[in-house]
Symmetry: C2
Subunit: 362 residues, 2 copies
């Protein structure tokens, strides 16, 4: 057995060890079925149970009631960037977007294929180092929806609270990098979507929580697979879904519930992030990349005094069993991605490494 | 360790045991990296190697040269049904479709959103029990492409050889249920696509082999994710791909190569299918669902003298460790799906079970 190391990768990212062990056992036989989890028909009894319990656990975990559908789709958030406006931005309509990073910009770009995009706020003036003030958003007249990115993986910023859309508009959220990492009032959202590969599972499955009344609004003639209603009516099984990804995601929902749910997840995530931010703030050697009031609990970004030292930090950390700390090329420096499944011990080891590195190179 | 049973499911379907064992070992650590295969960044060195070797092994296995791109996409064949015409059926153009089952019909339905569909032949007159004569196809004037479904999972028919499109048109193939199960002359194809979950891997990853010159033909303004060129230019990593599915598919390509490649796969598939077809033909008790000259090597369909006996056959087979033999509801009877990874021993056990069942109920 090879020893596992601390994996700070931004996604795909570390998964809970008990879930990996369970998945490993299920690969050759799901339960005592004699058929591996990837080999079961998506229409058979055992997979019926897999998908039903994944949905039920998601609903329990996130407090999702009957007003919202829970969908397991493919194509990542990048596919939601166009499915959302294709289905829910009417011809001639406007959607409001808050630009807080390159993913928000990509989402807005796809929406422009289907209607007008109004920028309600942007933090591009300072390279997205902050999240705009909720009170300062400037809405268009009667937008169909307000879209925001709840956590920005690249720079390491996060909304403390979701914005409130103007009357008549629904709230749309790309929650890829902080999905189900803290308590959620889903009743405030028209659509909440996330690729699994940061907080929720392996890449290749996308969680979409969608208010059911919005299913009626699709006016465009779209391919069958691109209509939200297709997937809602067929329980995410219009065609063969990514069965193994849904299985793993379901086991992660269950793991989160067993750990104490989203309140406990938030407590642990706050504690983990504080360990690393404290190490940044204690030493003048490190500079944070994000404004203090916009700091992400998921992606902690920082720099040493020089790009050379940054590179040395990353290399020495890697050698010490702290992997994946290199920052995104557009920001430089370091990024510690510490999603739900990342262990607190890894944050403590990183903080100690940071102190030692500052002492020997400061 | 639970004993594995014979899994005749039509897809997701049985996978090669050595590949499952390898995947099981990689779940907690890919090689000696200390990071599980699902947890590695899609932009890191270890996954670079996973996707590069998957592509290289696919090219070696199927004889794919530089004229074709090999793409790993999401969304199944159902997404190719609209991506193909969205990208490659020009405004005002016509595409020719051969209808050999409900999947062909679904493919043609999605194409009608983008242009005219001409039916070059159909076997719906006899419930798709046969594949039309290649020489009898009636083409439209100057179609953009000719689309066919190489194997029809539901009724159990298969083209012995691909049709030849008229001059100026390219050949498009939905190969979901017989992909890489026999030697392939890819130079005859403009596009060859297959969801993985029958012959090639788990559900959630789609193999698309596409002639590169076609990438220039997309005229419509499409969402970034829906353009073939996006994925070809970015090596299937424009966004986060289904990394684990690509890993498993790659290991299956390697397994097929190690077994002797596509010629050997065809030899084994012919032998396996003959075992079951012989059991059908030997007893007047069983009726095949497909015409003799159109029989599939992948899905063997048959009926007993009555629906009651069919149900009894399925139940007794299940109890004997032969799972997933119930036919599709539109055809009834039984269906033995025996893709690349299905073991020959399972076909022999089924044939013996059929003899015994006919003897005791005939």
């Amino acid at each position: 057995m090879v020893e596992r190391i601390f994996n700070f990768a931004p996604g795909p990212a570390v998964l809970p060890l008990p879930v990996l062990e369970e998945a490993r056992d299920a690969l050759l036989s799901l339960g005592d079925s004699g058929i591996g989890v990837m080999e079961h028909s998506h229409r058979g009894g055992p997979f019926d149970e897999v998908i039903a319990s994944a949905e039920a656990d998601c609903r329990e975990l996130a407090g999702v009631g009957d007003d919202h559908a829970v969908l397991f789709l493919q194509g990542g958030a990048s596919s939601q960037f166009y499915m959302l406006p294709a289905n829910l931005l009417p011809e001639g309509g406007t959607a409001d977007y808050v630009l807080t990073g390159s993913w928000s910009k990509k989402a807005a770009k796809e929406a422009r294929l289907y209607g007008d995009v109004h920028v309600a706020a942007s933090s591009e003036d300072r390279d997205f180092a902050y999240v705009p003030d909720v009170a300062a958003l400037q809405f268009s007249d009667r937008p169909a929806y307000l879209h925001f990115t709840s956590n920005n993986t690249i720079v390491g910023t996060q909304w403390k609270q979701e914005p409130t859309p103007p009357d008549g508009a629904f709230l749309a959220c790309d929650a890829c990098s902080d999905a189900l990492s803290r308590p959620l009032d889903i009743s405030r959202y028209g659509i909440y979507y996330a690729g699994a590969q940061k907080n929720l599972g392996p890449s290749g499955v996308t969680l979409v929580i969608l208010r059911r009344d919005l299913l009626e609004r699709t006016e465009r003639e779209l391919p069958t697979m691109l209509r939200y209603a297709t997937h809602a009516e067929q329980g995410s099984r219009y065609n063969t879904p990514p069965t193994f990804g849904i299985y793993v995601m379901g086991r992660i929902f269950r793991w989160l519930l067993d750990q104490g749910g989203l309140a406990e997840a938030e407590r642990r995530n706050q504690e983990k992030a504080a360990t690393v931010y404290d190490a940044i703030d204690e030493a003048a050697f490190y500079q944070p990349a994000a404004d203090a009031d916009s700091r992400s609990l998921m992606n902690v970004t920082f720099r040493t005094p020089s790009p050379d030292l940054d590179a040395r930090f990353v290399a020495e950390a890697e050698a010490a069993g702290l992997s994946g700390l290199k920052g995104h090329r557009s920001v430089g420096g370091m990024r510690a991605s510490i999603y739900n499944a990342f262990p607190a011990e890894g944050c403590r080891v990183l903080a100690q490494f940071m102190k030692d590195f500052a002492a020997s190179h400061g």
